[in-house]
Subunit: 351 residues, 2 copies
Amino acid sequence: MRALTVIPGRKHSLALTEMPEPEPSPGDLIVDALAVGVCGTDKEIAEAEYGTAPPMADRLVIGHESLGRVREAPDGSGFAPGDLVVGVVRRPDPVPCGACAIGRFDECRNGGYVERGIKQLDGYASEVWTVEPEYAVKLDPGLERVGMLMEPTSVVAKAWDQIDKVGGRSWFEPKRVLVTGAGPIGLLAALIGVQRGLEVHVLDLVAEGPKPELVTALGAVYHHEGIEAVVKEGEPDIVIEATGATSLVADAVAATGSFGVVCLTGVSPEGRNVNVDVGALNREMVLENDAIVGSVNANLGHYATAAEVLREADPGWLGRMITRRVPLEHFDQAFDLGPEHVKAVIELERS
Amino acid sequence: MRALTVIPGRKHSLALTEMPEPEPSPGDLIVDALAVGVCGTDKEIAEAEYGTAPPMADRLVIGHESLGRVREAPDGSGFAPGDLVVGVVRRPDPVPCGACAIGRFDECRNGGYVERGIKQLDGYASEVWTVEPEYAVKLDPGLERVGMLMEPTSVVAKAWDQIDKVGGRSWFEPKRVLVTGAGPIGLLAALIGVQRGLEVHVLDLVAEGPKPELVTALGAVYHHEGIEAVVKEGEPDIVIEATGATSLVADAVAATGSFGVVCLTGVSPEGRNVNVDVGALNREMVLENDAIVGSVNANLGHYATAAEVLREADPGWLGRMITRRVPLEHFDQAFDLGPEHVKAVIELERS
């Protein structure tokens, strides 16, 4: 079978590799891949900034935004051939920390977790893959074209869960949400905001194209004139920062009202120094009792929430989020999107 | 009677003023003052940077860290003459916001609250004051010399409450706490940490004097060599920032382990620009799921917690926190402490 692999730490090593189909462990599902989504982490791995190969291996199969169809499922696995399925990314340390021991492996404290397509486990960008049923999530059959959005949706479901919990430190009846960045994470965050009945504003740089169209179609408000213009209409109770753009992070904190919650989801490069009035920012955070929380990854509970979110969403809208679909042999085109694009997907289904 | 008053907004207006004893409203307690503590907010008011006089008045009686002895108490008030009593600082807006409506006036969203000694209500720095019984807290008789620490303790109790709630967004079994700043807020935060059985580290600038002695007497570890030296021994799960020093705020965030909580309690002046690697900070916050929360003020629940904290503490240790006691006529000496000092108190008891 063909797989998309990389030699972690070596630039320009991303390549299509011929390799044997994986051997299922007892109990595993065997899955024919349909597609993988490509995100910023994949780009970091391709650029040799991130990623670890499995023990004894040189190459890592990338891909963590999976979608496939079950080929073989053991009796009692809860799955049947033909089921649409997504594989979970993270597995806890075999010697679990306190968080992993209660199934919250997204909160791992000892760093001993492994991640498919990222850290020490092959990912899902291969024509066939296997997965333990307890780390597989069944999807509604209507999501055949968009189910690879499940993993980013689980990340966003966790972000909202963290917002709820941090918001709940005080009286919390949010009305207005600002999402910075109309990429996949930002749009999925906006989707959940709209599903919750909140007034959602999305800020990005581009003036036209799929991003403003997707935001408007959702019933949210699109902005591209900078954060001040948004805040002038009313301070948001929640800001979800989904760009990692350094200047926006400080602005986002200043933008909230009292007891505001800023959730950071965008991973930014280091070495972006900004001259910040930390005195004013600290003063504002104390006097307004503001909170900032970072959020990454997701556990099985968040995948379950994500499956709900996708089931309730308009599949046509989700489909329009995927602004580029490329066959496996043209994988490089999925790593080279302009700012007007949202999500690139690599198709893996054998014809 | 004599009172310490200021013309808000006018520098050098802090003065001892002769004024009539306050008229109690029906149901009020009449209280003979024992002392008030002086904090950074009082200094800001004295420097005309903060504070609002009551409607129709030029001068504001300052003082919000109160302590007095009940002179007269209406039947059914729950108080009796001779009781040691502290007055609560904040009152909710008469047209309450959602938070104020459920008694969480420290979370006021409409800004319509008033505060004794700070905003539109006379404070407690007068020889006699009145207070509504529902905003009065009875203290253990053993706290006669130190009960004015009740208000800062309530602020710290709220900070810990916020840490618990924000910490509880994830699996949370904190072991190690770093408190930056060994002033009253920092020391009281350390006291609560020790009462909870945590390993407490306190960082300040001074090398000797009451601060290291108080920290060591508590069973906590004192540091004055900078934050890196503390973190080298192990990352704290919680940082309580109680200096407002701008450079420390960013360092505090970087210092925590995964799912760390940084609670900001120190109000810093604006205009302290620092060149911060916001990219690295944001990346760290996302990948480690860190949180920062600002906390100020306290509600009645936090006062109740504070009363517990003070009852369990060693009164001798609390007394040593008060490194300067001055009679009312020498109030100016309470506004001029060197960095080795902890807390100044103005004595108000009539001889």
